[in-house]
Amino acid sequence: MAHFLFFLLAIVCIASVLGMIISKNQAYNALFLVLAFACMGGFFALLDAPFIAVVQIIIYAGAIMILFIFVIMMINLREGLPPERKKWTLYFALGIAVVLFVELILTMKSAFSSLKSGGIEKIGSPTDIGRLLFTEYLYPFEITSILIIAALVGAIVLVKKRDKE
């Protein structure tokens, strides 16, 4: 069952990312991405991280991608943009992809055997995560607040309409 679920999600996920690459339309792209992120949430759930899975779906698939779709709609381009048309670039991209993939696999190969998949002592429950966030991870948490301020200020200053000139 778990295997089936994993492969299903994996295929959907990869397919939607590929769809994003191939599709011309940005709106479709965004939707493909939402799908992929949703699958990602599924993986997280499979990996005993229910809270993160939920966060993933709410924040990523929900909030961030909505932002994307808003922007896409504001821009509202007539014709879409297909990916690179030159053949060699695509082959090149394929080559790069293969090489990079092989490299990453080789990197992680050593880890495959040592990964202990059986452990189920701890599940990332909201309680546990919340406790950690406000104890051990308080400092990073505070920093994220600064981060969000920075993002806010930045976003506002960049898009707000200019004072009357």
Partner: protein, 477 residues
Amino acid sequence: MNSFSALIPLLIIVFASLCIMILEAFLKKENKDYLAYISIIFLVVCGFFLVRAWNKDFSYFNGNLFLDNLSLFFSFIFLITTFLVILISMKYISLQGVNCGEYYSLLLLALSGMLIMVSSGDLLVIFLGLEVLSISSYSLAGLRRKDEKSSEAAIKYFLLGCFASAFLVYGIALLYGATYSTDIASIINHFQSGESLGLMALIGLGMFVIGFGFKIAVVPFHMWTPDVYEGAPTPITAFFSVGPKAVGFAVLLRVLYPYLKNVQDSSKAIFLLLCIISVLTMVVGNLIALRQTNLKRILAYSSIAHAGYLLIAILAQDNASLVFYLTVYIFMNIGAFAAVIALGKKDKEYLELEDYAGIGFKYPWIGATFSVFLLSLAGFPPTGGFLAKFYVFSAAVRQDLVPLVIIGVLASLISVFYYLRIIVYMYMKEPSYEVDINIDNPGLFLVLFLCLYGVLQLGIFPGNVLILIKQAVTALL
């Protein structure tokens, strides 16, 4: 010592940034200079606390945040950088039409990002600090909204920055996977103990270096630099050329120094890679700079090349020389940018080499100080630039990196050409058209003189600073 004092400097800066955001709403347009003064006051206060913390080794949040001497020294340098950048921005903002309040606020937020980065030994915190810095930087780059180049710089910086961040995160993930920790010290311990998954950790470290290689702009991760430098508002370029670079090196120092010192990976792969990168960086940066005619691009490529020299310092494992180099670099580079900023008027900046013809005699102070900065960048004695290179190279020779040093000096020979070319234009060419600028700019002149003083002081009597630096780098041992 676990103490709340460790957090105070950061709090002051963030508070300052918020204050400015709020105050901006209440200030009249003519009085926007007050925002600069307020930021400076906050910087001074923060500096005061930093000085007080010297030798005290404050830490907080279970050691996620610590103020050892090294981070204090770097923090102080960043304060100075921001201080100087604010001074050169004041007139620039009004002349070039940049939003004022957000400008200072973002600058201070970027500063806070840097403070976070240097005062932590946890990769997660460092990453978050980096993102604070980056996100502020992306916005800062695009602040000249009238100028298409500015937004182009912002998007380039943003997209490539995120791309690099992804590598960085993946690298951290691999490190985490190999060592189950994000703390530098325990990661290094893991490496040292030679447990399995060495390869994954090594690649993780590699991707981490790639991510930071982007920030410090080393070849081949440097491509964004010239464009972003050219497009960003000039004071921000000055900031970019020193701030993120310095902080990047500070982090690399924290990560790589113990690594290179303690870990014997198979034939020191990272070491050799860094050698190659360093050589590429010096050579490519300097060679391309030869062809440039835009001052900002010249300085951009020059800053790429300087990253190469700085990498040598990392390879030489001589932390004092790296820190000293960065200190000098801040003064000379900001000084140089200040001189470039000086050549501007309402809605117009003079950035082409041609514009500089005859400037040296027409505006003697700008010309003279700019020349000193350029000579310092080129590494002529008795400026700080020389001493900095001197330390780095001599340390490298002590580590038997002679070939690297030879390439380094030859690369700096190439650099002499384009630095001197600017002087050639300033002093040895007759202007073919009138360049009139607004020289009523006390803040900028203050910066010119401060940097001049810094460059000369560090070049001739660096003794006290060196002692401080020595004390600072003991934190790493």
